[in-house]
Symmetry: C2
Subunit: 391 residues, 2 copies
């Protein structure tokens, strides 16, 4: 007798898997050029430097033991220094909290900041990892569209004027996933002003900020207001398997996150955090390494955009390649990207249909393309295949 | 204006920090002999073998990338083999799920198996990491006492006969933390029968099972019923910083945990999971290594128990040292261990008062002592100091 099993089945049915993750299982065939994934290029990760740091860490036993819930102290210290430079104000160590990737920061923050039914504003199209977390927290989710300057803060202001009272506004401020755009300085200032005036938290989710191609990303939203919680990660600049993300938030928020982290998984890995600290503290090496990644991604991104524009002309409108890992493209002729996908897979190319990122439906003519793991020729071939599928 | 701040303060007040963790901050002074901690001995962790495995893993880029949410496939495979041997039935890989330490397994299982208000039965004294998770899940918690044979299944049977319907019964079946006892085979069979008859899940939390001193732990509760979810970890036999725990559960439970893991932190570390897989698959080396840890801990445990019995006689009753990391002791003369603690710290010894593990109060005369990180002479000196404080 298992009377708990039907309850489990109901719970399972209520949980949503990531549509992208499920799609990736179907598109892992070797002959398909994958623009669907969202992975950084493992070939660009600093394997030898990580091996050196691992070797150094493993000369002492300290890297094997449990570590503190807020993170290994020297990692927090180097992050505090980096964030101090980035934000232009002194960021004390107790305002830095290390998480198991920035996804865990999102998940713990949702628990700390949201009661069931609380209103969360997200961008549309949305980062699906955030949607998943906010939905699981039982939040009411309202979407504000993106345009070329990032979140439409005028639409947000209208919502606030109509009496909506969000607990949290989530933004991927730099090189948006999936939208590809970066929030303009004016919008950043306006978002911060609204946060201060209405007392909501902004979660500024910034994993891609250092991956700019031609010019650095604007100053973070967090430079404009103390109601901003900043999230970032070493996954895109070093390696995902270090599982070193972090949040920068007022001490009261960090202490609440700490209590939840104890129950969630006690603490992170002293070994991988020590490796991350070693690499992040090695300033000259790090600057050269990030520059190397940035250059490679920039070339790939521009190749992809060039191929799309050359091959499709006015039929597809796509974002400029200014940074990050993704290009967002819209068919202007009504082509439905969800319907196109099986033909694209037959032609040997995969992407993620825009509908996967839609909060309330829509984006049927859009798609997200990831350029990180293919060279220029492969990207050109991918676009050729896409064009043949779309004929 | 920050209207969300009062909500945060209320939430903070509602969260309970681990009393032990807070205590440890006070007792970290070098001159204090620490029996309060719950850490394995870093000096016994296989640092060189881990360095070798790290070096091997870091020869390829695969260990740097994101990995699958249920864990790095070769780690799941070796765990499935080990659990197959332990449970005496074929455990398929899709019934093994790797978590960020077994604390994360508890936390994700609480989300999967419990609705707010669901009844959870725990042992009293209780593993505080479990209490913290079940409380956070909004469960109603009822405690069943331990005796020398482990959980009092007769008390559980009475609760069930009176109509209580638990969703989950949690047990630390081997070398209990903090109680020191191991559930007898007869009790295991009875617990499994009750689970089958009443359809609740048993969470068999077993991080210490391989750390037996004189004879192996009995067959797991999971050998008696498929309503048992088994949890274990590499933290106590290899190193906590690998953050490799796991659960063994029916496929439907693993798939629900997978969806939650995606939101919680996407995936574990391919690097530390690859290291864990390497060491766990190295059978002869592993057997010799665990034997080494077991022997060292066994000697320490017996020294501690001997010192307590010699020094206190009938005034303190303590568990036999049969395995794990802890000895549980009761003052028979009414000494209040919470009141004694400041004097003990002054005398230079720290322990955790029993009250810290009590579900509904009690255990005022009890204490938990961890013997893992001190040699025999130091443990004897700790007991001498404790006796002087208790005079």
């Amino acid at each position: 007798m298992s009377p708990t099993r039907p309850a489990l089945a109901a719970k399972l049915a209520g949980l949503q898997s990531s549509a992208i993750r499920d799609l990736l299982k179907l598109t892992a065939r070797a002959e398909i050029i994958g623009l669907a994934g969202g992975l950084p290029d493992a070939a660009l990760m600093p394997r030898e430097r990580i091996a050196e740091a691992a070797d150094a860490a493993l000369r002492k036993a300290a890297c094997l033991q449990y570590t503190e819930s807020p993170g290994w102290a020297p990692l927090r210290a180097v992050l505090a220094e980096r964030e101090t430079a980035r934000l232009g104000r002194v960021v004390p160590v107790d305002e830095v909290f290390v998480t198991h990737g920035s996804q865990q920061a999102l998940s713990l923050l949702a628990e700390v900041l949201l009661d069931p039914g609380a209103l969360v504003i997200v961008e549309d199209p949305a980062y699906v990892g955030a949607l998943q977390v906010f939905r699981a927290a039982g939040a009411r989710i309202v979407a504000v569209p993106l345009d070329a300057e990032g979140m439409r803060t005028d639409v947000l202001a209208d919502l606030l004027a109509r009496g909506e009272r969000p607990a949290v506004v989530h933004t991927v401020s730099n090189f948006h996933n999936p939208g590809g755009v970066t929030m303009s300085p004016a919008r950043r200032a306006e978002l911060a002003e609204l946060a201060d005036a209405h007392g909501f938290w902004v979660i500024e989710d910034d994993p891609y900020g250092e991956l700019w191609f031609d010019e650095p990303a604007p100053a973070p939203v967090a430079t404009y207001s103390r109601n901003v919680i900043r999230l970032s990660s070493s996954s895109k600049i070093l390696a995902p398997s270090l599982r070193a993300g972090w949040l920068v938030a007022p001490n009261e928020v960090c202490r609440a996150v700490e209590l939840l982290k104890q129950g969630a998984d006690l603490c992170g890995s002293a070994l991988t955090q020590q490796i991350a600290a070693d690499l992040l503290a090695d300033r000259d090496w790090l600057a050269a390494h990030i520059d190397h990644v940035r250059t490679a991604y920039g070339e790939r991104a521009k190749s992809l955009v060039h191929a799309v524009r050359t091959r499709f002309g006015d039929r597809v409108r796509c974002t400029d390649a200014t940074g990050g890992m993704f290009v967002w493209a819209d068919f202007t002729d009504g082509t439905d990207t969800t319907e196109l996908l099986p033909r694209a897979l037959d032609a040997g190319v995969a992407y993620v249909p825009g509908a996967a990122f839609a909060v309330d439906g829509g984006y049927r003519n859009s798609m997200r393309m990831c350029f990180t793991t293919s060279d220029a020729d492969t990207l050109a071939e991918a676009v050729r295949r896409l064009a043949s599928a779309a004929e």
